[in-house]
Symmetry: C2
Subunit: 493 residues, 2 copies
Amino acid sequence: MAKELKDLTKRADNYSQWYNELVVKADLAEQSAVRGCMVIKPYGYAIWEKMQRTLDDMFKQTGVQNAYFPLLIPKSYLCREAEHVEGFAKECAVVTHYRLKNDPNGTGVVVDPDARLEEELIIRPTSETIIWGTYKNWIHSYRDLPVLCNQWANVMRWEMRTRMFLRTAEFLWQEGHCAHATAEESEARTVQMINLYAEFAEKYMAMPVIKGVKSANERFAGALNTYTIEAMMQDGKALQSGTSHNLGQNFAKAFDVTFVNKENKPEYVWANSWGVSTRLMGALIMTHSDDNGLVLPPHLAPIQVVIVPIYKNDEQRAEIAKVVEPIVAEFKQRGISVKFDDADNRRPGFKFADYELKGVPVRLAIGARDIANGTVEIMRRDTLEKHEGKLEGIVDYVAALLEDIQKNIFEKALKRRESMTVKVDTYEEFKVAIEKGGFILAHWDGTPETEDRIKEETKATIRCIPLDAPDEEGVDMITGKPSHRRVIFARNY
Amino acid sequence: MAKELKDLTKRADNYSQWYNELVVKADLAEQSAVRGCMVIKPYGYAIWEKMQRTLDDMFKQTGVQNAYFPLLIPKSYLCREAEHVEGFAKECAVVTHYRLKNDPNGTGVVVDPDARLEEELIIRPTSETIIWGTYKNWIHSYRDLPVLCNQWANVMRWEMRTRMFLRTAEFLWQEGHCAHATAEESEARTVQMINLYAEFAEKYMAMPVIKGVKSANERFAGALNTYTIEAMMQDGKALQSGTSHNLGQNFAKAFDVTFVNKENKPEYVWANSWGVSTRLMGALIMTHSDDNGLVLPPHLAPIQVVIVPIYKNDEQRAEIAKVVEPIVAEFKQRGISVKFDDADNRRPGFKFADYELKGVPVRLAIGARDIANGTVEIMRRDTLEKHEGKLEGIVDYVAALLEDIQKNIFEKALKRRESMTVKVDTYEEFKVAIEKGGFILAHWDGTPETEDRIKEETKATIRCIPLDAPDEEGVDMITGKPSHRRVIFARNY
């Protein structure tokens, strides 16, 4: 590990390479034998599990229940909603056969041509179509509404360029699919979920986000409106971290899902869907980590505190263990996840470097002299600061320190974002600013054409129209047409 | 619901139809638009989540970590282990293309022939091959061992005849894949996991199981040895409920996974894999439920107690709510999941029938007179017995009652199994016994040929050679060849 750490590319030298290396070196994930699909390793998966557990509890607090819908979608289902199929057709993994057979011309097995499916099946790129095909049977009256379902699932989009966590062919996510009796209720749920995602990002991931609405170009295929949370990575690029879509009655119409309302009249059901994915792992890594490795927010770290004993012989080792064991028990009792690493086959310096690389928020080191003096060396991962503390009351101290780290890394990320956000009024300024990275607040005339031109010329897109954007009269920096508020432009992942 | 309940087929009339209807009527699952794939509805999924959470905690207690491996497996990987591909090739869903395009001859979309994969990809029927292809990169030295990974995943086996939960094309499961330095350690883990499954089945599902070893005919494709837990359903048929496979060095050899042992010599790694699936939902339903609907073990019931108020007017309703709300809070504080169903649009009798159908273990009914008298009507779902109790101390009472129900339904299932297990010494007796259903303990000569003949003539298979089968000298009931212990025959799901 010490060696691996030394080899980690520095962010300033090549941010992209730093990220790719860190994902592998910190044991989060690796490429698999299948193009664009990754293996999520136990340490990476443990972080994802913490995210899942937290989000799942938050969803359930709002009345959402989990369910499970099929992996495969009949091709005809995908085609029911015109914009939807247009958006996903080019990246679909297609199942055409259901059997292999021994190769008649040699060894091994081949696809059995006699086992061709009558209708091809698509591995879900998202589940609106299969779910609305199902909801048709569930919803008849206003009494059946709302339906508030979520599923934790794998999905597949055959992306041409992939990067671990950020853009993979297969990824893990949750997708919520709600059905409502009124447009107002569905819109309220759409907004509620983007607020929930923002709360999760800020409280647990310690990642500041901007809540906003997508422009038509960046909207979900089949939605009336897409809400998003956008985060800024350390290199100034934006990362879309969660979306919530108001689908209007599009899918209800496509799948003929109606209900009898309170006035006893048939009406199409109102829909929304919302999701976050393992992409959040990429966001987490790129928001906080440094040239020494991962920096994990204490609220999501699989190991929050590691205790490393420093000893010269078995007697000292035993002496330290005797003092540390009740402390470990106290941490566990407080719900703080702790690891006492007394493994004998790695030197302390090696362990230190390894836990730094893995982003463990607090490291305690205890030697024989500490036992005699009632002291302990405390290192916080976010600042790498070390100081001596007292063994007495160490659990309370660390509990407070973890909260302090959580707050500190959030504020650090927020300050960075603020320092890398500029207002720009002319296209010339814009072109200079975009090369520096960061968010650019600019006026836009609201047309896809202008957005397309800016994207083509600068690789920047509109990340969102912030929900809290103040009214401000201005003119589009290119067309000079009127604009009533600034939107956020950035290059993005 | 009351109507739906009335329509439920009786077990005695048609056990199989009773099961199919109950799955749908109790809102557990339904058929989807995709052949052989089901939708798991929120109530069914809530039970599965409780199973998952419990098993996951038990796995982690033994040092297992979760990870995630790709959904798709290159065809060439599947072929590396000869018996394995032989076992799974005939039921594989095959991805051949990665893009759709607009139909040049009409509307809609078609598979794009230009987007054919160079190598076909198989939707995992199980993940040994992709995982051992990955482990090759993880394992170099004895210091890297053991690797103890599990994944919660969907898998697909294109079965021709499907039944919800029992046999579906797509199903959810967990699959553990361990790598060890020695044969002994791997065998110990294989046995440890079948013991863990048995403990889960008996303690949480209240389902007695017999632990045993599979005969060669019923072994996992690629395993040296398969351990199983076998349960008996109410109709006397066996249901294989969990398996743990000692894979020897088969997959290590197929994927060339070696490690340097303590003597500095290269050696192939030793493997095991183990899994349970949503099939357990079918086992749960068929073990305990009755003609009134589901009977759920308290340890897995999503709602453990339901409280139904009986009132004539809003004043009474408010009065009852005032008394019930602190009781609800107390249940929650005790970790008992409770639902206070004061919905105004369904009559109490309707609610009673619904919660019976859904298998809620304890129902409390409270009317205005109860409030005056400090009483409550208590109904236990397992026996359908009703009696009057005191409101004071009701939470303690119900907590004990839940444990009593858990114990009672286990014992009921155990007695049924015992009463439906017979020893048989001649093939004539065997043929008579098998028509009655249940487990038959008989001598077998240990050959696949004899087992095949029995299966062909009676549809019975060897469910397992029980781990605790006492030594007993005897002769095979057909061939007369010597046998040293009895094995269990049964028809099975």
